[in-house]
Symmetry: C2
Amino acid sequence: MKISTEELIKGIQSGNKRLIAKAITLVESKKAEHRIQAEELLKKIMPFTGNSIRVGITGVPGAGKSTFIESFGRLAISNGKKVAVLAIDPSSAINKGSILGDKTRMEELAKEENAFIRPSPSSGFLGGVANTTFETMLICEAAGYDYILIETVGVGQSEVLVADITDVFLFLKIIGGGDELQGIKRGIMEMVDLIFINKVDSENIQKAKNTRLELKRALDFIPPKEKDWKVSVLLGSALNNEGLDEVYAKIDEFINLKKKTNRFEEVRTQQAEKRFEYWVQEYILAMMKRNESLEEAYLQHKKNASAMVSNPSTEAKLFVENFLNKKF
Amino acid sequence: MKISTEELIKGIQSGNKRLIAKAITLVESKKAEHRIQAEELLKKIMPFTGNSIRVGITGVPGAGKSTFIESFGRLAISNGKKVAVLAIDPSSAINKGSILGDKTRMEELAKEENAFIRPSPSSGFLGGVANTTFETMLICEAAGYDYILIETVGVGQSEVLVADITDVFLFLKIIGGGDELQGIKRGIMEMVDLIFINKVDSENIQKAKNTRLELKRALDFIPPKEKDWKVSVLLGSALNNEGLDEVYAKIDEFINLKKKTNRFEEVRTQQAEKRFEYWVQEYILAMMKRNESLEEAYLQHKKNASAMVSNPSTEAKLFVENFLNKKF
């Protein structure tokens, strides 16, 4: 049964989780009629969005991201906040939810009245980076959530995607075997605003401090992302609820600084512009893909270019001319 | 007077510098009729391209890039090689050649029969990264140049552009005031294959060694670009011809390694694919720009998106629909 846009909006604004979920399913849909309703919905809720703190969270598998989110989320709720959790799952488009399994790991948080948990499929039309996580976030904001925690499993370009739609980017690290920086993906250290070394206890505290030292040294070699901000490396244990207060306070401090220096609004404006540009590309690619012969042509021209049969620019021009002569 | 494509090709293959220059001017032109001839030319020379070592060179102003290129170029020529120098100049589109002034700094090299020096304007159609340096390089390769040295002044995205079309990326560094990594642009250290600390003499050799130590430590924190290659930090003085042999040998070593592991061909193929994708975007943007009302619409939709008047994706969709309904 089709639910009207008005009903969805009323549901979102009254915090009805079933209707929030329906609205998210609507914006995730690629069907043309759904997209039309989704855009109508998004347009109407726009004035009620933008008031959350958007937190991106990354870390290797095993770093304890879900446990961290559960503990952090419950802390925020105990401070009177509402928390939405979105998890970017590059595989969900294929097997419909490898992260859904993880939801059991957030059982306690899921039980909370003021928490909302949702996996977010990551599937650009042609392998692009644009997905609907941003729009899902807008819905959660309109529903009054104060913190939007966006988890990424760190496959492909998903960190870039998350960094491009959040206000603060948090990196969860576990203690390594001496070679602390092994396994850290290229570019991650330049995106990060805050690092939390997780799973620290009385037995490995010295190792944890060494890890912190290594990370701090590495950070000294990286030009700062925000010039007035020095990335902190905090220690703790999400499982034992240790060190979370400090993370919470640091995020607050960072957001306040960004607001004071106008960087908060400035970065959000840049992010929105970038998203617009992403989507222009995505839609153009989607138009191409809709036309089978055009997609074939794209691949053929690309192949000619990569084999240096002819100049990449020439191949691109031939393709674009072909593309623009089609009817859509 | 128009020169025929055949005449240009004959000129290129016989190493006639005047005709090589004419061919480059042709591929740089944005006039539709010139583009047609340029593409014809490029198609025909394609089988004779690809045989050079493509070297990207970056460094802050004052690092001694021109002097380095002059000394390195003369060394290569003394080893029986032919050397072409292209300088990417982001400002040349505006003031027609701030780097042309620099040519006087390469006076000795310019006199050599086996050297060819040319500034290369950097001007994507709508601020994009694609330019004609790659095509200029193809012409130089068809003319038999063994080394193509591409200098970037390091403004904007020019290093990325250069790294994306070269086989080896060289970073020229001068000795700093203790804070060695100040002023190094974000991302540069991840692009680099080889570092040369320039302007080293008997008086500052200890400082130079400290700089090397700092750089090496920084490199330890950066995941390697080529997994079998450790970035070397070499010391020397381009002005006094010291240390250039070592750079020459290291470049050789790197290229041989890449050829042995098939990375040489693999990376070139990826680069050509990427260039194709760049150019598809550039041509689409160029088509847009040709249509004034469309360009206005683009800016208006982008503004709506950044002000969050409506969802960036919605604005992008409206624009793309508008775009595809136009006649070209």
